[in-house]
Symmetry: C2
Subunit: 349 residues, 2 copies
């Protein structure tokens, strides 16, 4: 390619304006019936005579008809679009959530629109308001919004949350207790007496949740635990936390998520701090790449794919039954500890 833009062909294909497809009126004409009959045949199977319907379907196929979702949305107010709000599309933790959500949405005949809040409550509010009129409902994953803001959205359209509990709003939360208990037991059995929680954003409900569970579990087994943070949930923040972690004198660190754990782990190794000899590191979620590190990252695995599926299915259920009451779903989804090389006996424990 050259410095100047180079046309790959001379003429740009001419294109009909607007939706280029056939309408129900075209079908009606072809099939010799009224447009309303076409509409009924296509949307309410059984309402129309079998033979007529067959004729209409044939005409529709012949004309390569596709309904115009906007024309349909106008009278019905339903678009078959749903939004998935994530904190940061480039955070690998969302990959599997997005995939699960995609699957569930597609399966149910919905199209997923992904919105990115860029880790900011303001951006999240803006994005949510922008997308609201277009979608039938919205799934908030790891929302940073205030409870009141979520309630306000909920008053307009169906809203469900994941990794966040808001009164009156359906939520999908994995059961973190098993994983946390296993992790604390694991660290205890290795001989750790004093550990730290490298916390994430204070506005993240899940951050406080994990901290609370760790605290309980540690106290129960007589282990000391301190919180270091809050921090942003990134590789860089994990990296930057090394000095504070060392200063604290703990022998093991549990980070809010794998990104932070990996950042910390790599920074430690790079600075000659042996992992797990001098410092054990663990994270949450088991994201892509957590097993690439040396040593591999011990982590509390979250069933992200299933969570994505469940949150969307719950949302669709509420869209299709406005009378549905809010529920906490997914309580059957448990986390489990995945032990890799980043946790081990503390030197001279």
């Amino acid at each position: 390619m050259t410095a100047t833009e180079e046309p790959t062909n001379g003429s740009s294909a001419k294109r009909k304006p607007g939706n280029s497809g056939a309408t129900i009126y075209d079908i009606a004409k072809l099939a010799g019936v009224n447009p309303s009959t076409v509409s009924r045949a296509l949307t309410t199977p059984g309402r129309i005579n079998e033979r007529t319907e067959a004729k209409i379907r044939a005409a529709a196929t012949e004309l390569n008809y596709r309904v115009n979702p906007f024309a349909r949305a106008l009278p019905t107010g339903r678009t078959k679009l749903i939004a998935l709000m994530v904190a940061n599309i480039t955070n690998p933790v969302f990959f599997d959530v997005v995939r699960g959500a995609q699957e569930a949405a597609t399966l149910a005949g919905y199209t997923l629109v992904i919105a990115d809040s860029e880790e900011s409550a303001e951006q999240e509010a803006i994005a949510a308001n922008k997308i609201m009129p277009v979608v039938d409902g919205i799934a908030l994953v790891t929302s940073r919004l205030e409870d009141e803001q979520i309630a306000a959205l909920h008053a307009e359209k169906p809203v469900v949350t994941m990794n966040r509990v808001v009164q009156g709003v359906s939520s999908t939360i994995p059961d973190s207790v098993p994983g946390v208990d296993q992790l604390i037991a694991h660290l205890g059995s290795l001989g750790h007496k004093s550990i730290a929680y490298l916390s994430g954003p204070s506005s993240a409900w899940m951050n406080n949740h994990r901290w609370g569970l760790l605290l309980d579990a540690a106290v129960k087994v007589g282990m000391n635990i301190v919180e270091i943070g809050p921090n942003s949930p990134t590789l860089e923040a994990g990296k930057a936390a090394l000095s504070r972690v060392r200063a604290s004198g703990v022998t093991a660190v549990v980070a809010y998520n794998d990104l932070m754990a990996i950042g910390l782990l790599r920074e430690a190794v790079a600075n000659g701090v042996s992992v797990p000899g001098n410092l054990s590191v663990a994270g949450f979620d088991d994201i892509f790449g957590a097993d690439f590190t040396s040593p591999g990252t011990t982590t509390v695995k979250t069933p992200l794919l299933e969570l994505g599926r469940i949150v969307i299915n719950r949302l669709i259920a509420e869209i299709e039954d406005p009378e549905a009451t809010a529920v906490n779903a997914a309580t059957g989804l448990v986390t489990t500890l995945v032990v890799r090389g980043s946790t081990g006996q503390p030197r001279q424990a």
Copy 2:
């Protein structure tokens, strides 16, 4: 979930059906003007008397008016939605592309809809057809479709591609030559005489493109090169290729992408094949996690974020100017070699 769903509160908020907001008719009533005047005031600044417009805007604000995108889309045929088709949303190579695309779309006032083709031409065709009526245009990233299919989409709405060249369709392609030349020079200087290309899917244009460039570059410096594949572009495929790679007798492998390179690298290390001592490994793209491996993965870095931005900007340009002719954009975007530990001198070179 426990056996029974557990309500988090008793009453589900009642919600008005349809779009709950005010309409231009409400504004018109409040401001004492005709609805069409409201429409003009809001969409064609200057067309309406300044004082009238101010009054209308005040009323709109007071009623918390938001335009109904569907009602607008019906007469105009424009939705301000654009689709980004990716081969697999969980492939980290798309993270940065998606992020760049998001940024560009948001900046221009568009909303991005991400569609996933699941690495399949059939799924891609289905997804594209489904999303077409809803969006103003579509960006195909690493499309698996036939040229004719892409042309057919292009005849309907603006279409741009990334990492794919189709006659008459605007494309965004990074300049892979510098990175490939650097890579071959790097391997040559280390003493490699015979290398392999671990190829990706044969339907991926970029796979053939990279293979062609590598072939040229290798031949130019008198290096032997063989193709191993095609393979699916995954960690697993990279892993599975180890035996064939070893059998080929080459001292270095360049994989179609980092996922494959990482899979191969990790499998080699796990099987006692020293990297880079017995085998040098390199990939393409520099995805998230490529630096986590031990040794780190040498790779030809692609400016994915910029590519995402550019492809969307190009698409928007074509949406807003239907007369625009197809161009190859991104002519300034070059790839560069990132050397990490996975490439080195072959033992007894």
